[in-house]
Symmetry: C2
Subunit: 490 residues, 2 copies
C-alpha cells in the first residue's frame, strides 16, 4: 500500500496503520500488531497476548472479577482435559462441540486407550464434579466462576475475534429451582451489559438468542451485542439457562427440604478476550487505538520535551510520574531517546487516554499540558493546561471525561445505525447492505431466519418482548412473537 | 481406621482427619479433601482446585504478582500448544521433558501432520517469540511473566505436590549480558525467599542446585527448599540462569551498541501451586489446617452463639462482619443452622487464623472473644476479649501475631532438624533416617551424589560457598568445593 493511502503521513508510528474506514479489517490487523497487543505465533490459529494486550486483559479481569464476587461468586479451577466418554453424554452439546475439539491421544511414550479432549468449554467436567459435591438443598446454590484457557479447532485466525486457543471466564452455577436459575442467567447478563457500558464504554443490546443461535444444550441463551463500524454486530458475552439438560446428563441431584430427590437447574455464562476486539474496533480511529481508560494499561503517558543539555523536563517527568503512581494512576514516563513528536504519535497509536507534556516553558509556569486522545487534533478541550500541583486531582475527572466521550460517540453511532423497519423490502435491503442493527417484529420461526440469512447473510442477534402495536413479522408476514435485531455479524 | 486413632474425638469435622505425626501422607490427603481445598477428578492425574483452595492461590498470585511488577516485570500469555519440531531444538531440554509430554494428534476430524505438545513449560514458545521481538540492545531487557496451566505426564497424583496438570507462574527474561542474566536469576530467587518467609510463613534455604539437579538446559539453577514435618525437603520454587543455551537454539540475537550481532542471555523462574502443599504440610496440626493469614481465603470467621428465640447475636455478627469487610478484612459470618461447637471445629480444621465468637453475654459487655488458630487450646494468649469498637484496629496485629508464631514454629523446627555434620557415618545415618537438612562440606562430584542417593535416598537440595575451615567432603573425603544441604525430598 502506498504512503498516500495513509491519513497522517507525518507520523512515523501512524504511517504504518492504514486508515480505518476503507478497510476495517486491514486497519484492525495492523493496529493490533503495531500497538503490540498481540503477535502471531508459529502455532496454527494461536496468537500471543503481549504485555500491552495482557494489560488490557488484566484490567478486564479485575473489573469483571470484582462484579462476580459482589454477586456472591467464587473462583475455582477445573482440569483442562476431558475424557471422551464424559464429553459424549449431553447430545446437543456433543453435536455442537465435537467438530471443534483438539484431542490428546499420546502421553509420554504411551498411546492412550481413551482420547482426552482439550476443553472447548467446561460444562461437562464441572457437571461431573457438581454431581459429587451437591447432595442436599443446603449445598445450593453453587456459584462458581473459572478464568481459563479453552481451545476450539478453527481454521481462520483473527486476533481476539477468532483464535484456536483463547482466554475467557466461564461461570457455572447450580440452583434448586428453574426460577432461581433463570434469575441468575439474567443477573449475569446484566453484569455483562453494565460492564460493557461502564468499563468498555460500549453500548450494547441485551436480549435472548433465537433457538438456532442458542448454546448447544441450553434452554435459553442471552447475549449482549455491540455494533462495529462496518455495520456488523459482535456478540460480546453470553449467559445460558441450561435448565436440567446437563443435570440430567451428568446426574446432578439434590435432596430437597421435602426429602424428594430432584435434578438441579444449571446456568453458564462467559466473556472472552473477544471483548477486547470489540473495544479496539469500536473506538479506534485513523491514528490508531483509543482505549477506554478503565481498560487502558497506561492511563497517562508522560512525555518530557527534552532539549540537548537540559534534562530538567526529564527529571520533572520522573518526579510527576512517581507522584501520580503513588496517587493510584497507571502512568508511564517515556524517557526513551526519541523525538517528542515520534513519541506523541506512538502513544496516540497505542491509544493511551491522556498524554502529559512537560517542556522547559511548562516548568517555568509550573503547569503542564494534558492532551486527550478521544478528541480530534485541535478540537475544543483536547488540550488543557494543568498546574502540576493539581494533576493528581484533575486526572481522574479527565479520564472520566474520556470514557464518557468514547461512550457517547459509540452510542451515537449505534443509535444512527439502528433501524426500526416496517417495510419488507427495506428490511431485506438494509440487512444485505450491512446497515447496522435492523429492528423488527419477528415471527421467531427458524425457517424465516434461515431464509433471511440465505438472502442477506444477516441473522437475528437477539430478541426482546413485542411492543404495543407489533403485529406481523416484517420478514415474512406471519404473526410476530418477539422484537428482534437482525444484523450481519462477526 | 477406628475412631480411637483420632486425636479430637469430640469434634465432628476433626474426627475424619487422622493425627498428623504417625502418617503425614494420610493426614495430608484427608485434610486437603475435607477442608475442600481440592477434589479428585475423573481425569487421570488431575485435581480440581475448589473455591477454598483457589482462594489461597489467588492470595499467592496477588502477593507474588505485586512483587514481580515492583521488580519491573509485565505479564503476557503464550500459546498452550507447541509444534513438535520447535520443542526438539534444545537438546537437553528435549531429553528432560519429552518423556513427560501429552501430545495432541487430532483436531476436529483431522489427523495432524505434526504433533502438538501441551506445554510442560514455555521456554520454547517464548524463545521463538523473543527471537522475533528482539532486534536491538534497546529492546533489552525483556522482563515477562506468565500465569498459566502446564501439563506433565505423571503416574502418581498427590494434591498440589504431584499432578499432571498444575497452575504456576513462569518468568522468562532476556538480557544483553551474562552478568545481567545472573543478577536477574538471583533477584527472583530472593523474591521467592522473601515471599516464602513473609507471606507463606515458611523459612527456606536458598542456594544453587547441583549439576544433576539442574533444569534441563540451564547453566545454573537455584532453588528455595522448605523442610516438611517428616524430615523430607520440598523444593518450593526455582530460578534458572539459561545462559545462551536457548538463545542459540532459538536464534535470539540483538545488535549491540557496538553494532555487533550477539545472542541474548535468558533466565526463567517459577513457583507453582506446590507452594500451597508446602504450606499445608508445614503448618497444619492434628486439628487440621493452620493457614498463614496472608494466604488464608478467610482471615477471620465470625460465629454467633445463637440460642433458640434470640437472634441478637446473629444480627450483631452480620453487623460486625459488614464493618470488618468494609475495613478491608476477608471475613465470613457463619450463619448456618448448626451448633457453634460444630462450626468451631470445622473452621479450625479449615485453618482460619482467627475466630470471633459472639454470644448473648458478649453483647451485654460490648465485647467479643477472638480465638487464635495458631496456638493450642488453652495456651496463653489463645483467647482475647476485644471491645467491639476496637475489632477493626486489633485484628491486624492479631493476624500479624499469627503469622509470626507460625513462622517461629516452622523456623524452630527447621533449626532443630538442620544438622551440621562432620562425621561420615553420622552423615549417612542421618540421610538414611530422614533426619532433616544435613549440612556438609561437599565435593560437588556427581558420582559422590549418586552414591549417597543409592545408599540413603538423599540428594543435594542446594549448595552455597564453603565456609572458613571447610576442607574435605564429608561424604567421600575428596576436597570440598561447596557447602551442601542433603535431604530426602518430595
Amino acid at each position: 500500500m502506498s504512503d498516500e493511502a495513509f491519513h497522517t503521513k507525518g507520523d512515523p508510528a501512524v504511517k504504518e496503520i492504514p486508515p480505518k474506514a476503507p478497510d476495517l479489517s486491514a486497519w484492525y490487523t495492523a493496529v493490533t500488531l503495531k500497538a503490540e497487543l498481540v503477535s502471531y505465533s508459529p502455532v496454527r490459529g494461536c496468537v500471543v497476548l503481549r504485555p500491552y494486550g495482557f494489560g488490557m486483559w488484566e484490567n478486564l479481569q479485575r473489573e469483571l472479577d470484582a462484579r462476580f464476587k459482589d454477586t456472591g461468586h467464587e473462583n475455582a479451577y477445573f482440569p483442562l482435559l476431558i475424557p471422551e466418554h464424559l464429553l459424549m453424554r449431553e447430545a446437543e452439546h456433543v453435536e455442537g462441540f465435537a467438530p471443534e475439539v483438539a484431542w490428546v491421544t499420546q502421553g509420554g511414550q504411551e498411546t492412550l486407550t481413551e482420547r482426552l479432549a482439550i476443553r472447548p468449554t467446561s460444562e461437562v467436567i464441572i457437571g461431573v464434579m457438581y454431581a459429587e459435591w451437591i447432595q442436599s438443598h443446603r449445598d445450593l446454590p453453587v456459584l462458581i466462576n473459572q478464568w481459563a484457557n479453552v481451545l476450539r479447532w478453527e481454521k481462520a485466525t483473527r486476533p481476539f475475534l477468532r483464535t484456536m486457543e483463547f482466554l475467557w471466564q466461564e461461570g457455572h452455577t447450580a440452583h434448586a429451582t428453574a426460577g432461581e436459575a433463570r434469575e441468575e442467567t439474567l443477573k449475569m447478563l446484566e453484569v455483562y451489559r453494565e460492564f460493557a457500558e461502564n468499563v468498555a464504554a460500549l453500548p450494547v443490546y441485551a436480549g435472548a438468542k433465537s433457538a438456532s443461535e442458542r448454546f448447544p444444550g441450553a434452554i435459553e441463551t442471552y447475549s449482549i451485542e455491540a455494533l462495529m463500524p462496518d455495520g456488523k454486530a459482535l456478540q460480546s458475552a453470553t449467559s445460558h439457562d441450561l435448565g436440567q439438560n446437563f443435570s440430567k446428563a451428568y446426574d446432578i441431584t439434590f435432596t430437597g427440604a421435602d426429602q424428594q430427590i430432584q435434578h438441579v437447574h444449571t446456568t453458564s455464562w462467559g466473556m472472552s478476550w473477544r471483548m477486547l476486539g470489540a473495544v479496539i474496533m469500536a473506538h479506534g480511529d485513523d491514528r490508531g487505538l483509543r482505549l477506554p481508560p478503565k481498560l487502558a494499561p497506561i492511563e497517562a503517558v508522560i512525555v518530557p520535551i527534552v532539549k540537548s543539555g537540559d534534562d530538567a523536563p526529564l527529571q520533572k517527568a520522573r518526579e510527576i510520574g512517581a507522584a501520580l503512581k503513588k496517587a493510584g494512576y497507571r502512568v508511564r514516563v517515556d524517557d526513551r531517546d526519541q523525538k517528542p513528536g515520534w513519541k506523541f504519535a506512538e502513544w496516540e497509536m497505542r491509544g493511551v487516554p491522556l498524554r502529559i507534556e512537560i517542556g522547559a516553558k511548562d516548568l517555568e509556569s509550573g503547569s503542564v499540558v494534558v492532551v486527550r486522545r478521544d478528541l480530534a487534533r485541535g478540537e475544543e478541550g483536547q488540550k488543557t493546561t494543568v498546574p502540576v500541583g493539581n494533576l493528581a486531582a484533575e486526572l481522574r475527572p479527565l479520564l472520566s471525561a474520556v470514557h464518557d466521550s468514547l461512550y457517547a460517540q459509540a452510542k451515537a453511532f449505534l443509535d444512527a445505525h439502528t433501524f426500526r423497519v416496517s417495510d419488507r423490502a427495506e428490511f431485506f435491503a438494509k440487512c444485505a447492505d450491512r446497515s447496522g442493527m435492523i429492528d423488527i417484529p419477528w415471527c421467531a420461526r427458524p425457517e424465516c431466519e434461515a431464509y433471511v440469512k440465505a438472502e442477506t447473510s444477516a441473522t437475528t442477534r437477539n430478541t426482546r418482548p413485542l411492543e404495543p402495536g407489533d403485529a406481523a413479522c416484517v420478514a415474512c408476514g406471519e404473526p410476530a412473537k418477539v422484537r428482534a435485531f437482525f444484523a450481519q455479524s462477526y
